[in-house]
Symmetry: C2
Subunit: 329 residues, 2 copies
């Protein structure tokens, strides 16, 4: 009996792949730096190599796989199985991923956007389990959301709903790559936190941060800022709090527009935990309408595995013969 599925989470920096069994147990996990500079074809081969490694390590063959789920960081054409545009990976325009993958591995494929795959992961196995009106936000390099309404994922008429990172939070603010000014992503993403730290380092000398990166400003990331904050650096703490307050504005807006019961916050930046979530909740309580303040804001539970796990689970459920098909999907 075919029991296993693989889920892959293709990111701008890393590829993560999991092998799960029919009980959603993780039988194997791999994380590799993506060889983005070699182009889409090579990255596809790299992903397939990871699938074969997972199979080999578990003494399995492709016929043991029920399906492959793949989340990619950008716009997807699910019907045509194409990666339409992945802004953080060079050369990924209208890539026929389905076709390329089938040339190397004969298993059913399910392709979707990475933020939605992570949202499915949290919905099925993590902090969103059992919640029907739920928004699962990924705060990483960028900011996006998977929206569940009455138990179903909501995608919008052209499948581009959930782009909450491009909500305007500063009318005359910083120019974003999307063309807008003052997008939430410019103030609350991992990239924004790192940029702010680099600015402060230049302006006032920001000794602890600089120590942590051995004087190399280019190496400052959101994780560096998080580390400095943990070590008690008040400037680093201030940067995180400011980002959290912007995120709170975005979430209060979401609460007023969608009236969700729960908002799950995942992604790399969410790893900062209560230092981030505390001020977020405070701002939502202050800014959302009284009737919309019952929204619970909680941390995601699957960590960096959310995307790959979500991909694996959705692939199994969608592609199964129907018996295991979850009604949510």
């Amino acid at each position: 009996m075919v029991k296993f599925t693989v889920g892959i989470d293709l990111g701008g920096t890393n590829i993560k792949a999991v092998l799960v069994d029919q009980n959603n147990e993780v039988k194997g996990y791999l994380k590799r730096a993506v060889q983005a500079e070699l182009g889409p074809r090579e990255v596809t081969r790299q992903m397939m190599g990871m699938v074969y490694t997972l199979l080999g390590e578990n003494k399995l063959v492709p016929a043991d796989l029920r399906g492959l789920g793949l989340g990619v960081p950008g716009l997807v054409d699910r019907r045509e199985e194409k990666a339409v545009f992945l802004p953080n990976l060079p050369g990924w325009h209208h890539i026929p991923l389905g076709q390329w993958i089938r040339e190397e591995l004969d298993v059913p494929l399910l392709l979707d956007n990475d933020v939605r795959m992570a949202a499915w992961g949290e919905k099925l196995l993590g902090a969103g389990r059992g919640w029907d009106d739920m928004v699962c936000i990924t705060v990483g390099t960028g900011i996006g959301a998977g929206i569940f309404l009455q138990g179903k994922m909501f995608r919008g008429h052209g499948e581009s709903a959930g782009e909450i990172g491009h909500m305007t939070v500063e009318k005359d603010g910083l120019l974003c790559t999307c063309g807008n000014q003052g997008c939430l992503e410019m103030y609350a993403s991992g990239r924004a936190i790192a940029r702010k730290a680099r600015e402060l380092v230049k302006q006032k000398g920001f000794n602890l941060i600089l120590e942590l990166v051995e004087g190399d400003e280019a190496r400052i990331t959101a994780a560096t800022v998080a580390r400095a904050a943990e070590l008690g650096d008040s400037k680093a703490q201030g940067i995180i709090e400011e980002a959290a307050r912007y995120l709170g504005i975005g979430l209060a807006n979401l609460a007023n527009i969608l009236n969700p019961r729960r908002i799950v916050i995942g992604g790399g930046v969410a790893g900062m935990g209560e230092r981030l979530l505390g001020p977020v909740r405070e701002v939502v309580q202050a800014r959302a309408m009284p009737v919309n303040r019952d929204v619970e804001i909680v941390a995601a539970q699957l960590g960096e595995l959310a995307g790959a796990l979500g991909a694996a689970l959705v692939a199994r459920c969608r592609l199964a013969d129907g018996k295991e098909k979850l009604k949510e999907i």
Copy 2:
């Protein structure tokens, strides 16, 4: 055969009531200033009086009515048939409207929020007809929205979705009655437009506006500003354009979050037509993500009748024996 339904739109200023037949033809229309100062009980009697007037004028009796739809400006408990809180009408806290109405008129009642009733009107008979992913916005004294997703009205887990007027558009902006700062409603509603005009009148002398209200600043409304703009007053035109630009920010946010195919703009302020819609569309094209710019922004078609018509239609569809039940409802 029972053919008629009545729809009532209770507002902070006026009550509008329509009698429609089974072909959605309007057989009678009344508009009366609401006697708000007399309290909820008297206002309820006033509404019932209007129903009896409509019946009498058409030589009908209550038994000719299939149902009564009623939209009220605020929070509603549909199950308990209560008006929970109507901010613009004094004394309306947990009013058992269903019970009070039944004491005076024996027909099935359907109660809902006024913005949602207007959205239903536009969806069934107006600019939203045939559109499944559609947001219908009312820009009047306040700003709210009825959201249709895949043909169904979306209400949120606690029925308070669609409060787009309380999206933050100026982080450190004006204090709103909801407790938040910088709400869209404070910059783009009829009340905001009138407030801005009163400020300018004080600051710089704003002759045409003052002439139109015969020197009485208290009488300045959004309609006064619209009239002055039509007559070529550049300050009035500037006020409307500024409001439109804020509305555009809110709508670009909505486009990014919900990816709707069409946004219908109704309510009193929408009567300004292209003077308002032009800059709104411009801002949405500049600020929404490229993939979300295909949203059509159009004027509502039912004018001030939208709420009452929507109420009548929804009441008939919901309360009918099933044969005429529209699948959207």
